[in-house]
Structure formats: structure tokens, C-alpha cells
Amino acid sequence: IAGQIPPYNDSCVQGQYPPPKDRRVPNYVINLDLPPEQRWLQLGADKHREIGAILLEMKKFLMEWGSGEIISIVDLLGDNLDQVLPSPYKEELTGMANASGIMIGELFIYNIFYELFTV
């Protein structure tokens, strides 16, 4: 995975904008007037495969790199999910879990992966 060795030799590119249309991303509306459980139903159903793939890769990371500390943190959090996941996020993840078929505990770990990663 050796990269280019400093000092920096690349140049500032021109003419990259606009990129091809196939690099645009889809858009979804999140209606905050809906009950939290219903806000993510469409996205959860449409993207359940992608979410599952991300979670699988993150779990591999936790198993391979997590050693003692992260695994014990995840266990602690899982036991205290009701207390560490404030409203409306808990209800939203519940809705997402129902729509995607993914367990809420796994979705929660995904959503706090930034904090886990900084460990």
C-alpha cells in the first residue's frame, strides 16, 4: 500500500467539474413531522443491503482490531442501550431496524462508530 513518498509532487487538477452524472447520489426526504419510528422507513427498506454490508465490515474491524477495550465497551453499551441512546434517536433506530431487518444494537454501534474508532 505504499503511497507516494513526500514531498508532494502531484499537481492541482483542473476541469474536473462537473463530474459525470453517475457520480451523483440519490436524495431522500426525512419528514421530521412524522413519529420518529416512521421517518426512516423508505431509506431503511431501500438501502438495507448497503447498511448490512457496512455493518459486516465494521464488525470485522471490531473483531480484528478491537481486542479487549472496544469489545468490552460495546458489551457495556449493549447492556445499557435504553440509557445511552436518547430520544428521538432510539425511536428512529427502532424504525430503521424494523424497515431494514437489522438489529437495533448493531445500528446503534454503527451510529457511534466515530467514537469507537477514536478509541
Binding site: 492541482c12 467539474y17 433506530l93 466515530y114
Partner: protein, 254 residues
Amino acid sequence: CTSIVSQDAKGNMYHARNLDFGLFLGWDVKNRTWQLTDILRPAIVTLDWQRGGKTLFKSVNYAGYIGVLTAIKPGMFTFSMDERFNADGGYMGILEYIRDKKGYWMSFLSRETMESAGSYQEARDKLANTQLIAPAYFILGGTKPGEGCVITRNRHVNGTDVWPMTDSTAGGWYVLETNYDHWKAPLFLDDRRGPANKCMKAMGVQNTGFAGLFNVLSSKPVLNKLTTYTALMQVDSGTLETYLQYCPDPCEPW
């Protein structure tokens, strides 16, 4: 990650960012890519958060992620966050949180800020003065010339540094953050700051806009094999454009 808040010659405010993620999370030897980075790209979506049938704010998310990493509140402010590695990181923060229930998960604080803050100043104060579980860099842009800053956050609010774009050590007409404290040199193996500043100066204030900023963020190693997307935001128009990014060889792995 690389985040930039910049103004053009007329004082219009722009905010652009690369989101890089997946370091050390599996290297695909055959394709020379990071496995998680590849998996994240198909999950990228833009979200239009609405209340009362009207847009409250827009964000770029990975599907399944309900917090906010990149967002625009039209006519008010723009936001992005970059990861900050710090010895006093998430481990202690999570343990403290389990014990005391004090502090915010980063992405929930940013989402709450997008939902509730009514101005650049209000967002800046909330992001600078709320206890967090893990350190982070918050990059914030406003609507007026000079309204742009990098908020370097510890878990606790003591030690918070707010670096405005008007500071002589910033660009003057822009401010740029990667993943290192602005008062320190970046890791020599991961210097995206220098190349990004070089490209910003080459672009100049007169060429600031979506095209110019996209070129800067498409220049290697600012663009690298961890880059999943580039987002471009203009606060007055409320425009958010998001593009998947790929970095074909030769390309730096981070």
C-alpha cells in the same frame, strides 16, 4: 477528511469537503482499494430534512446513519466535521458517559445543531461549548464574508479552539482543516493540508466557486483512496451537491 470554507470575490460563502473513511479497515490487494471505503460509497445519500413541508436543512449521510457529518441550513450556515485523533479520545469518553450520562455523541450534537440553531453564531456557540464524548473538528461557515471557522474540540469544553478564517494564519479568505490541529504540523506521511493550501492559493479568491473547490478537492493527495465523496455547499442558495469520488492509481492510500 478535508474541509474548506471559502468566500468568493463578491463575498458569497462556499463550503466544500471530502469525506475520507476506512483507514486500516481492510485493504483489497487485487483492486488496491480500502474495503470499507468501497462499501460506503453505494450507501451515500443526500437527505432533505423537512418540517411543515419545508426544508429545514440538508445533509449527506451514509444510509443507516441518523446523525450529521455534512450539512447545510439554507440561508443560515453550513457544517462539516473532520475526525480528530487524540489520546484523550472516545474510550474514556464512552466510559464516562456510561457512568455519568453527560456529553453528546458527536453526530447527535451536530444533528441537534442543524435542527435547532438559528444562526452561524448560535451554531458556533453550541458546537464550541457542549460537552462531547470524543474529540472532533467542527468546520462551520456562515452567510457573511469572514464567517467561517474551525472549532477544535476536546471532549470537555475547556481547551476549545476557534480558528476564524480571518485569522492571519488561516487563508484570510478561506479556512481549511484536514485531521490535524492547525497550530501543529501534520504527520509527514499524511500531509493533505499543504497540497490543499497550495491548490487553494492557485485557484485564488476570484475563482472560488463549485468548480474551483471541486478541482482542489479532486487534486491528489487531497483526493486519496479513502475519499468516499465530495460535497459542495453554497449557503445563500441552499445548494448542496454531492459526488462519489474515486482515486485511480497512482494514488495515495490516505
